[in-house]
Amino acid sequence: MFIEPFANNEFLRISLVAGILVAITCAIAGTFVVLRGLAFIGDALAHGVLPGIATAMLLGVSGVVGAAVGSLVMMAGVSVVSRRFRLSGDTAIGLLFVGMLALGVMITSRSRTFVGDLSRILFGELLGVNTSDLVLQLVALVIVGVVAFIARRPFLLLCVDEGLAKTSGFSSRLFHNLMLTIVAVTVIASFQTVGTLLVLGMLIAPSATGALFARRISTMIFIAALVGSISTYVGLLISYHYDLAAGASIVLTTVLIFAIAATYTEIKKAIAKNSHEEHEHPHSHAGSHIR
């Protein structure tokens, strides 16, 4: 029941490997998304690639190229709108987010297979992944991993405070853009497996779970990768046995794991608080009996 589906089905095995590669890539990029509070721009990047992919599909070009162009337009647009028009970052992101999403849906609606195409872009097609997709995912993982390792110090400073990064001799603009680039690379490489809508779940939920337990950034990335990989395995099993959408099953599993982890930490905190209070006032209960 737990191993057999993967042993007997090559498509499922490839899907599992692809999902784990996505999980590890998302764990690295997602950790910085969560710590620097970039969830909204991550969401916008995930949707900003939609018109690029849709145009590429209509022109018969690789969706990856379209996604790359879409994310570049999105990143440049956010930068220009927030600087030139003195709007807050999230207003600029929101404007471009809905604009790009609407443009993507309009372009896709020109296709004769509109619903199928849109669904494939938004939710991915994990069970349709082939070996060339795996290679692309592996390349993305190496790029994201190497950049995050080299830039770990300025990234960490940026997560604390932009001013601290700048006064430590690192260009906050350069490393902020580099951080956005690794998020964009993750989105571009992951859209075929989990889709542009669900990749955000893989970016945020496992890293948020890691943040609950970790005392170090490296531990947070490790926990996020573990949660993402376990969710991929569990989600694929659920999808196989109950004939449900694979990408959605995986992302829902990551969110459920976060919910369980958050409940556990809250209960643990409450118990610790109670035992601390009892330690501070050991006789208060006995005193009430005497009175």
Partner: protein, 242 residues
């Protein structure tokens, strides 16, 4: 310590502010190694704006500003800045030691590995600020005062020649305030120039120069001159009890 410059900090008719709108104008001063400049004023008086400009986070609107003979913000290894509210760390999964060690990043850059010497500096800074016993605890579990001590330790870890401290005693109890005064005295003794923003008049006791601010320079000079009753009345609306 700073043989390359005659003055560690020198300003001439400096105007500071945001987006070309000056908050404080015509600041002229010069400081030498080991001196303490205390900026005093109410909220919004321009203290933090001056410090941010000296740290290189804001561009001077007008006039000249040289730190150790160079433009502000160009010598990260030699100038350390403690912001007013060093936030965010309380949500991050970081140990106290990791936050303090971030003070060495200016020296390490992207690729250098921390040496035994770097680790000793980190340990010593934690010891000096009284948080050595918390080194392996998550910073988010510490009290506000302990977090402030952690950020102070991070600034000391830079081993800078100029310290820019924006309300370093904020959130600290009496012992903490005493500790900050002792740390500043020991840094000055080894030739470090310190600029500190504060609301507290008693922080000016040991200063070489005090600048009283109210969106302009009300007074500047030795404490006994700059804190005269007429200036305090103008700045705060009251005078010191004698």
């Amino acid at each position: 310590m700073s043989s390359s410059a005659e003055f560690t900090i020198k300003t001439e008719h400096l105007a500071v502010g945001y987006s070309k709108f000056p908050i404080v104008s015509d600041i002229s001063l010069s400081m030498q190694p080991g001196e303490l400049l205390v900026l005093i004023g109410t909220n919004g008086s321009g203290k933090s704006t001056i410090l941010k400009t000296m740290a290189g986070l804001l561009q001077p609107i007008n006039g000249q500003l040289k730190i150790l003979g160079s433009a502000a913000g160009s010598l990260p290894k030699r100038v350390a800045y403690l912001p007013q509210h060093p936030v965010s760390t309380h949500t991050l999964p970081l140990r106290v030691r990791d936050v303090v060690a971030m003070g060495r990043f200016a020296h390490l850059g992207l690729f250098k590995k921390p040496t035994t010497h770097d680790n000793q500096i980190v340990d010593n800074s934690m010891h000096l600020t009284g948080i050595g016993s918390q080194a392996n605890n998550p910073i988010r579990d510490l009290s506000g005062g302990q977090q402030q001590r952690t950020h102070l330790a991070q600034v000391l870890t830079r081993q800078a020649e100029v310290l820019l401290l924006d309300e370093p005693t904020a959130g600290l109890d009496i012992n903490g305030r005493k500790l900050v005064a002792e740390l500043i005295a020991s840094e000055r003794a080894r030739g470090v120039t310190v600029v500190m923003a504060t609301h507290e008049l008693q922080d000016a006791e040991n200063a070489n120069t005090v600048m009283l601010l109210a969106q302009r320079v009300v007074s500047i000079g030795a404490p006994e001159d700059a804190l005269r009753d007429e200036y305090l009345r103008e700045c705060f609306g009251f005078t010191q009890p004698h």
